[in-house]
Amino acid sequence: MTAVAAARFPARDESRRTSFVGMVMALASWTMLFGSLFFAYAILRLRAGTWPPDGVEALPRLLPLANTLVLLFSSYVLHRGVRAAADARFGALLGALKATLALGSLFLALQLAVWIPLWRSGFRIDSGVYGSIFYGLTVFHALHVLAGLVALLVLVPGARKGRYRSGRQSAVRLSAMFWHFVDAVWVVMFVAVYLL
């Protein structure tokens, strides 16, 4: 915090900047959490002679690819919503929140559409290390998507009442940061688990 910075930012931004710093640290922490899971995946994969292991079918790619696009699009929509809030267009913010909620729910529905047939076909978390990695990582991520959806849902009443005026937008911005983070993790997960 330099003197210059103190002069540049008006006082009402102080609290927003504080919560921003906190969120950055929290996301750094979460990055290490997911990073460790990817590290675990990398070690197990390097130890394995063949991947996928013999007798295990490769994972489907089409549906997860579509799902990646769904999440990326949701991030774009939410980003537009945050920009709209900054311009005090609260109707647009509300629309963006609803659209993001719908897209996030679609993502979870498509995840179920991936998991259920695989599980029925006998590919389960306890059927070998490939299954452990697949379900462990994707379900853990999906729980974070769910948490992100709850955070966005909580914003809806406030957006409807136009509560997120200038200087009161921290909740919107921080929830959006978390949402983008969860999306970024998914992109890495899609590449690492499905493509590589």
Binding site: M1, T2, A3, V4, A6, A7, P10, A11, E14, S15, R17, T18, S19, V21, G22, M25, A26, A28, S29, W30, M32, L33, G35, S36, L37, F39, A40, I43, L44, R47, A48, G49, T50, W51, P52, P53, D54, G55, I125, D126, G128, V129, Y130, G131, S132, I133, Y135, G136, F140
Partner: protein, 597 residues
């Protein structure tokens, strides 16, 4: 001139306007249970940590009793806990006790006392803030920790008892094959929750230091205690999640039958890997030892200066050394795994990086000695404990070199030498540092002075046995005794060491008994201690510029900081030998005026 300008900019009228003065809560629950006040949360963490310190310490006594007096009943408690064996600790209970002793001491005694209590107390008061950046998160952090502690305590009472796979919980000792009972699962839940609490605290501490420093409180004007706690918070935020990931996978292995740590599948089928857990554990585990020691280093660095009545020798060098060590601690974890069969090239890299830690360690160690050198030392109890830290940490640090070097580590690995080493560094040093901090800040926390005579007796009856205990462990370890042995006297090649073990046990029991002096001192001072003045130790950091105990909002006016934390014996100051951080020199123009309200 530039500095003056910066101060004026800092002192702009709107700065810190976000730090409002909130009215003090009046209801019992809002005031003492679910409190948002960092000072109350600090006290909660202190009581919580002291409770687990007593519990973990009692377990240590029982462990030592089994080694020193094998096959005999532990006095009083033994009959109550193990009536079926006539009061003698059975082997399974022994494994369980050393596991839980380590877990409770690390996550539920040291962490709450040094980081939870003193982190909470000191950060806002020392940097001139009214509270933490996120008071709600602060409260959540404490109560999440309580949930974790409950999981640990409940685990003693489930069938097959508490976790017994060592505090590291290596698979396969910790998977269903090694630990079929629910105790290990509860251990995982407890570690996960206490880790979450640590991360919440860490995010809060980091943000508070970055954002809420009073005007003029640059990073290089922060007391070294705040430096230590801040660096600890950074390591906590970044590396506790790695442990969380490790125990999460272990949890899935135990509950849903996943294969992460399950070895034995064929090469083509792809199998899990128990060593993977060791990687995850030690990527966290090595920073963790610095997480535990950094607050104590910072506190001792301040106290040595305070009681030597001299500015800290090499203040900036100490702060930078601690930062460099924090960074190096992130890249040396492989030295815990020299014997698992990693590539020799990798081992040598880890060894070299480990040895590099000696350089910054030597810098701040010499700075400690330089601070005391030719000082007008006041040997009050906090100072005695601080010098004690210098002594035991010296021993612990030097024995670390033998374990960081591959060739000697392969012999010493998993021996009592390791146990002696890490207890000297992260048990003895941290414990003595915690006592120094409690004796020093007790007046500020509770508004009463502790008894100096009892404090000095407590010091001498602690430092002598603690040195004997852990140096004795170094000796038996060097002699070849493995850690975690239930019955060392049953092995012919260890029988000549049994005498040392007996003496270690006797010293340990003395150490345990002398802690009652502390308990008596703490409780009696709380009730009937001499009333503390605002600044009984005559030092200049900001917490001593406000009443003891401080008001709910800490500072009526946010102070304007014009000095470093150790302004002692300045030739221009007459009538006293110290200068508060917000007190301008007589030769300087009048204060620029404090800000905010």
């Amino acid at each position: 001139m530039a500095d003056m300008q910066a101060r004026l900019l800092y002192a702009g009228p709107d700065f810190h306007s976000e730090q409002h003065i909130h009215p003090e809560p009046t209801g019992f629950i809002a005031k003492y249970v679910f409190s948002f006040d960092h000072k109350v949360i600090a006290k909660q963490f202190l009581w919580y940590g002291l409770f687990f310190l007593a519990l973990g310490g009692t377990m240590a006594m029982m462990i030592r009793w089994q080694i020193g007096n094998p096959g005999t009943a532990f006095p009083v408690l033994g009959e109550l806990i193990w009536p079926q064996s006539g009061g003698v600790m059975p082997p399974q209970a022994y494994a369980s006790f050393f596991t839980m002793h380590g877990t409770l001491m690390i996550f539920f005694a040291i962490t709450p006392i040094l980081i939870g209590a003193f982190g909470n107390l000191l950060i806002p008061l020392m940097i001139g803030a009214r509270d933490m950046a996120f008071p709600t998160l602060n409260m959540l952090s404490f109560w999440t920790n309580v949930l974790a502690g409950l999981a640990m305590i409940v685990s003693f009472f489930v069938p097959m008892g508490a976790a017994a796979g060592g505090w590291q919980a290596y698979p396969t000792l910790s998977t269903l094959a090694g630990q079929p009972g629910a105790g290990q699962t509860l251990w995982i839940v407890g570690v996960f929750f206490t880790g979450s609490a640590s991360i919440m605290g860490a995010v809060n501490y980091i943000t508070t230091v970055v954002r809420l420093r009073a005007p003029g409180m640059g990073y290089f004007r922060m007391p070294l205690s705040v430096w230590g706690i801040w660096l600890t918070a950074i390591l906590n935020a970044l590396f506790v999640p790695v442990l969380a990931a490790g125990v999460l996978l272990l949890f899935l292995d135990r509950t849903l039958g996943s294969h992460f740590f399950l070895a034995g599948a064929s090469v083509t089928k792809g199998g899990g890997d128990p060593i993977l857990y060791q990687h995850l554990f030690w990527i966290f585990g090595h920073p963790e030892v610095y997480i535990l020691i950094l607050p104590a280093w910072g506190i001792v660095s301040d106290l040595l200066s305070f009681f030597s009545r001299k500015p800290a020798f090499g203040y900036k060098a100490t702060a930078i050394s601690m930062s460099v060590i924090s960074f190096l601690s992130m890249v040396v974890y492989g030295h815990h795994m020299f014997v698992v069969g990693m590539s020799p090239l990798l081992s040598q890299g880890f060894m070299t990086l480990t040895m590099l830690i000696s350089i910054p360690s030597a810098v701040f160690f010499l700075n400690w000695l330089g601070t005391m050198w030719r000082g007008a030392i006041r040997f009050a109890t906090p100072m005695l404990f601080s010098v004690g830290v210098v002594f035991v940490f010296g021993l612990g640090g030097l024995t670390g070199l033998h374990l960081g070097a591959i060739s000697s580590d392969i012999y010493l690995h998993d021996s009592y030498f390791v146990v002696g080493h890490f207890h000297l560094t992260m048990a003895a040093s941290v414990l003595l540092g915690a006592f120094a901090a409690i004796y020093f800040w007790f007046p500020k926390m509770f508004g009463k002075m502790m008894n100096e005579t009892l404090g000095k007796w407590h010091f001498w009856l602690t430092i002598v046995p603690i040195t004997i205990v852990f140096c004795g462990m170094l000796i038996v370890g060097y002699g070849g005794m493995q850690r975690r042995l239930y019955n060392d006297d049953a092995y012919a090649f260890l029988q000549h060491l049994h005498g040392v073990n007996v003496w270690v046990t006797r010293a340990a029991l003395l150490l345990g008994a002398s802690q009652f002096l502390f308990v008596v001192n703490f409780l009696s001072s709380l009730v009937a201690g001499k009333k503390a003045s605002e600044n009984p130790w005559e030092v200049g950091t900001l917490e001593w510029t406000v009443p003891s105990p401080p008001p709910h909002h800490n500072f009526d006016v946010i102070p304007l900081v014009v000095n470093g934390p150790h302004e002692f014996s300045h030739p221009d100051v007459k009538g006293k030998d110290w200068l508060a951080q917000n007190e301008p020199l007589p030769s300087e123009p009048a204060a620029l005026g404090a800000v905010g309200s």
